[in-house]
Amino acid sequence: MAATERDAVSLGGAAPVMSPDLIMQVAPGTPAREMSYQEAIREALREEMTRDASVFVMGEDVGKHGGAFGVTRTLFDQFGGARVRNTPISENTIVGAATGAALVGMRPVIEIMFVDFSGLAMDQICTQAAKLRFMTGGQCQVPWVLRMPQGGGAGKSTAAQHSQSLETWFAHIPGLKVVLPSTPYDAKGLLKAAIRDNNPVIFLEHKFLYSFRGLVPDQDYVLPIGKCDVKRVGTDVTIVASGYMVWHAMLAAQMLEREGVSVEVIDVRAISPLDRETIGASARKTGRVVLVAEAVRDYGPTGEWAMAVTEQAFDYLRAPVVRVTGRNSPVPFANSIEDGVWPRTDDVLQAVRQVMAY
């Protein structure tokens, strides 16, 4: 399945496209434009390719077609086929070739159409690129970015082989950085940071977020990889989330405000290296923590986040950490059972009420 931007939007039936107002990241008065998450990514690519001749884009159908979700559309017209390069269907070799090019000074940005296909490229991602600098005693570096759409939801019915969230596969491998942007602002600033980073960076875009809109500053900016972002300050309970889940957290926080519950929302924009301090500090402040991740429950990202809480805030905890995660099963096709496979705002609300009531 290769959908396009149009589809991404039109297929997004069931789940709500949330209001951009929920997350305001640009200070009033700053020159900025509203754009979609997808446009923000494209703009980051365009600007970095313009700034640095060593940056290029490579992947299946990233040329005229614009990639699986239309993210690279128009780049081909601007930069041509040498720098916006269609490849054969050869995931492991696409990544490995990016590594080889990076070793001799290029800065490839590669796309794998769906994170699910990374199963074919785990050797080059995790066993080669992640380890090469270390194995060679620092003789080289591997400055690539691997963009992969992931996630599901929203009645898209892409089923078991096109819907997973696999961030922990990568976050478990030292040498990689793993980024999951949740907003247009973050997507642009983090992708620029990733491209300028000298390490291999896994950049996981949430399919359902492509059409989300938000303000993006006109001026060039980069965001730090390896720092959590406090998306909302609160005092009663901490919600730790990343990617699309941040929106559920924010919506839940807004609703809970009306109930008099003050929620702090921590966006783990980069799940590796993990910024334990920000999570720990918030947990010490609120004493109550809810973790939200779309990936299936078992051995998903929430376990590591829970360890950060335990290690840094045990004595402050007033309730056990509660998590909201994807259902522990492959993703089914039919809506009746796809429903409930991914966390919803309601699940987050309930979890917060649970820790508050403890």
Binding site: M1, A2, D61, I89, F117, L120, S157, A159, P332
Partner: protein
């Protein structure tokens, strides 16, 4: 090869069945009744049918993201298929799979794997089991031409070759992998030369001509059944529709598509049957009508079937 009349009519019937099923599924998709994606097999019917008519029911096929046609060609029931792509519990996969993952084990379809190339090792393994147990069954993985650039494809052909397994690798050249023309993904013109890398026979046939395909497939299947090992069969056709229903097709122009549409395998076979006096207009019209009714019934069946019960969501995760 001189197929008898009933075989010829069955070929025609299956090709029409695929065409009507695909037109219906595209239509349902456009009207928002099918979720996910639909990858139509329109234009390639002669390939799937020519191959599968050369197979026995207990032979196995392994499919791709574009496998409605393969399943129907192998004999799958269109009502259960339609129910599946509508996500109904009466579907082949009880609504768990959808369009990209239709499997019909009862008619010998191991399933459609949507990761390009991933079906190949499965067919190789099934063939290994046949060989180990002394069964004269054959396994047939389908792949698109772009799929022949995957590591899986190479590993699978090599393994089947060195073990002399009963596999017929069918490579369906419809010229495009999503937006990428085969010329931009492969340097050779004739993909059947790739067989030489494994020391097995490779053959290229007109994928618009069901008899040509049937002929070559029958020889390859018989070879495999006799224990003489795998064959690579390349069927040359064209993808008449977009990569998936509703895909914008920015990478090719109408003329190109129209030119290939002249080779439409169904009218072509119909003409052949009439010209060679194998069938009458009336007989063929009857088939057309029969299939239209069948597909209408399939849609009705699918629509009126229930979705899976939420309580069953965790079924089949483990055996």
């Amino acid at each position: 090869m001189n197929p008898d009349k009933s075989t010829l009519l069955e070929m025609y019937r299956r090709m029409v069945r695929i065409r009507e099923f695909e037109l219906a599924s595209m239509d349902l998709f456009k009207r928002g009744q099918v979720k996910g994606a639909v990858h139509p097999y329109i234009g390639q019917e002669a390939s799937g049918v020519g191959v599968c008519m050369a197979l026995r029911r207990d032979d196995l096929i392994a499919g791709t993201h574009r496998s409605h046609g393969h399943n129907i060609a192998k004999g799958a029931d269109t009502a259960r298929m339609m129910a599946e792509i509508l996500g109904k519990v009466t579907g082949y996969c009880k609504g768990r799979g959808g369009s990209m993952h239709i499997a019909a084990f009862d008619t010998g379809s191991l399933g459609a794997l949507a990761v390009v190339g991933s079906g190949i090792p499965l067919a190789v393994g099934a063939a290994l089991a046949f060989q180990m147990r002394g069964e004269d069954r054959v396994a047939v993985p389908f792949t698109g031409e772009a799929g022949s650039n995957t590591g899986n494809w190479h590993e699978g052909l090599n393994m089947a070759a060195v073990w002399n397994l009963p596999v017929v690798f069918v490579l369906e050249n419809n010229h495009y992998g999503v937006s990428t023309n085969i010329k931009d993904a492969v340097k050779v013109d004739d993909l059947s030369v790739r067989a030489q890398a494994y020391g097995i026979p490779g053959e290229r046939v007109d994928g618009f001509d069901v008899l040509d395909v049937y002929d070559a497939a029958t020889r390859a299947v018989e070879r495999a059944r006799r224990g003489e090992g795998p064959t690579l069969l390349v069927t040359e056709a064209y993808r008449f529709e977009g990569h998936y229903a509703g895909e914008p097709e920015v990478y090719r122009n109408r003329q190109e598509v129209d030119q290939y549409r002249q080779f439409d395998p169904i009218p072509r076979f119909r003409e052949y049957l009439l010209k060679e006096n194998k069938a009458t207009d009336a007989e063929l019209d009857a088939i057309d009508t029969e299939i239209k009714q069948e597909i209408a019934r399939a849609i009705e069946f699918a629509r009126s079937s229930p979705e899976p019960e939420p309580a069953t969501a965790m079924d089949y995760v483990y055996a």
